[in-house]
């Protein structure tokens, strides 16, 4: 019997092994032999790998960072769920738009959807693992002409994946009209498989509030925060579901997102302390059932501006203008009222930082292969940086106290009396 039969492993067993490997290893192992290369490129395997990744804890948080002070391109930070430290920084490979402030619309199956324009017509798809970058065509549908520059306040974008057709979709909602005392919005949908936009015939009830990206892609539907009119009164509304109660817009801000597999919503209320807010998290326990909205927890008052995302393990991510905090509910016991208990994930993000949950995948978007500069952040250094700083400080202090007098003595010997 031959000594090693590993090279005779059946293909589905090999796929099982490969599906557990990170993208980095898979890209290398393409070079092992032809059959491995073909297996790794196989779309069936790529889908299996994506599904496996979704189950494991190998995810990341993707955040955009400002370009350097010398006018460099924007970059995307990938923050690992294992250490909550930045592990990779990838520069956005766009000559034309690279310096503009990019925002992440969403991430599906390892593909990031990026946006640079306020009216949602300049968008990109980017798979940082395979370095495929694709500028999407502009939707040639008119946007309602609202007064001045307010139109961007009523435009929402959302990125999602449709498993039935294996297609990636970008949806743009924009205010369309007010009819019979009710707001309506138009919906434009971009499909990757046709690489084109289509405007839906039917209008959607309500209008999106303040240029939002859909943070909530669940049950095959995208959700935005919006408003409708009811008997002349402005009511808050998750576009297509009603909220549990009327929110007083003067005091409270709110966003829908996904928490632990359910549609959820966070309502931010002001407190008497400036810049301190209380966050109430509500969860729709039964999707589509209005009565199933339940208040799950209250966090605050905290000195932050907004809740940006719910982590894969139910951590809460808060942000100020450019700093991001990780609030681990399993570690921090109530009362939840001190942001200093949270970990700082980093700063120097773009203002109003947008964060998404992201995995690495080999999914192809048929974009152009670009050179995207990818820098591994040495987390070892980061962890011990504080000690380096302390050590350096100590050295400086010792030098000041011990060496300086000796130096003076040496330079000015006449000071010393014999």
């Amino acid at each position: 019997m031959s000594s090693s039969m590993l090279n005779n492993l059946p293909e589905d067993v090999l796929m099982d092994i490969f599906a557990r490997l990170p993208v980095k290893s898979l890209l290398q192992f393409k070079c092992v032999c032809k059959s491995w290369c073909n297996l790794i490129k196989d779309p069936i395997f790529i889908t299996k790998h994506v599904n496996q990744s979704a189950l494991s804890n190998n995810g990341y948080l993707a955040v955009t960072r400002q370009g350097s002070t010398f006018g460099g391109n924007c970059s995307i930070s990938l923050i690992s769920y294992e250490t909550f430290r930045e592990v990779i920084r990838i520069t956005i490979p766009s000559k034309e738009y690279g310096k503009a402030p990019f925002t992440i619309v969403g991430s599906c199956n390892g593909i990031l959807c990026l946006n640079v324009s306020e009216i949602g017509d300049t968008n990109f798809l980017f798979n940082p693992a395979t370095s495929e970058f694709k500028e999407l065509p502009k939707p040639n549908y008119p946007i309602h002409e609202l007064k001045e520059d307010t139109i961007s306040d009523f435009i929402g974008l959302g990125f999602g994946y449709e498993p039935e057709s294996n297609d990636y979709k970008l949806v743009r909602i924009s205010y369309s009209k007010r009819l019979e005392n009710q707001f309506y919005s138009g919906v434009d949908v971009y499909s990757l498989s046709t690489n084109s936009w289509r405007r839906k015939n039917r209008l959607v009830l309500g209008t999106v509030l303040v240029n939002s990206f859909s943070k909530a892609f669940i049950n095959g539907a995208l959700h935005w925060r919006g408003v409708t009119l009811k008997r002349g009164d402005v009511r808050c509304h998750i576009i297509s579901f009603d909220l549990p109660y009327k929110i007083d817009l003067a005091k409270e801000e709110w966003w829908p997102f996904v928490r632990n597999g359910s549609l959820a919503m966070v309502i931010r209320s002001k407190t008497h302390e400036e810049h301190h807010y209380i966050f109430n998290i509500w969860v729709m326990n039964e999707y589509g059932v209005k009565k199933s909205w339940t208040k799950q927890l209250t966090v605050g008052p905290l000195f932050v501006l907004k809740l940006v995302e719910c982590g894969m393990n139910e951590e809460l991510l808060f942000a100020t203008h450019s700093t991001m905090y990780l609030y681990d509910l399993q570690r921090i016991k109530p009362p939840h009222d001190d942001i200093l208990e949270a970990d700082i994930i980093g700063n120097n993000f773009v203002p109003w930082v947008e964060v998404v949950n992201h995995i690495e995948s080999l999914v192809t978007i048929e974009g152009t292969k670009v050179y995207a500069k990818r820098v591994r952040k040495n987390s070892w250094f980061g962890k011990y940086f504080i000690f380096f700083q302390l050590f350096f400080g100590l050295v400086v202090m010792v030098a000041y106290v011990v060496i300086l007098p000796k130096l003076i003595h040496f330079l000015y010997p006449t000071n010393v009396s014999e």
């Binding site: 000594s3 090693s4 039969m5 590993l6 090279n7 005779n8 492993l9 059946p10 067993v13 099982d16 092994i17 490969f18 557990r20 490997l21 990170p22 993208v23 980095k24 290893s25 890209l27 290398q28 192992f29 393409k30 070079c31 092992v32 032999c33 032809k34 491995w36 290369c37 395979t130 370095s131 292969k369 990818r374 591994r376």
Partner: protein, 126 residues
Amino acid sequence: MKFCTVKQYFDDENNNNVTNGIATTVIPLPNKHLKIKANNKEMEQYEQELLRNVMPQELTKLILAANYLNFKEALDFFCRTVANAIQNKSVDYVRKFFGLESDFEPGEEEKLCKEFAWSFEGVDED
């Protein structure tokens, strides 16, 4: 039940897929599983001990046995072990591990390596 194929195996005497040695390793696994089902750590330790001195060649036989017996948990465990063993290792290491040789044309392999040069950084020492 898990072992419909086991009966078939015992009936089929000319079976080269599963040797006796393997049968004694793989088959007791579900019983052990049930005994210490609640305690994952113990199971992990048991499995680690089991594989401590197993060479890649033996591992192949175990995998094929588990695959033939349709034993999902064991197959899951073995695949996980192999994946952990080769993760972030160099291409040469993996070739040795699996007993494979490169069958690329002279320029092809280089081209592939260049495409994703970043993935070759920070690879574990062999």
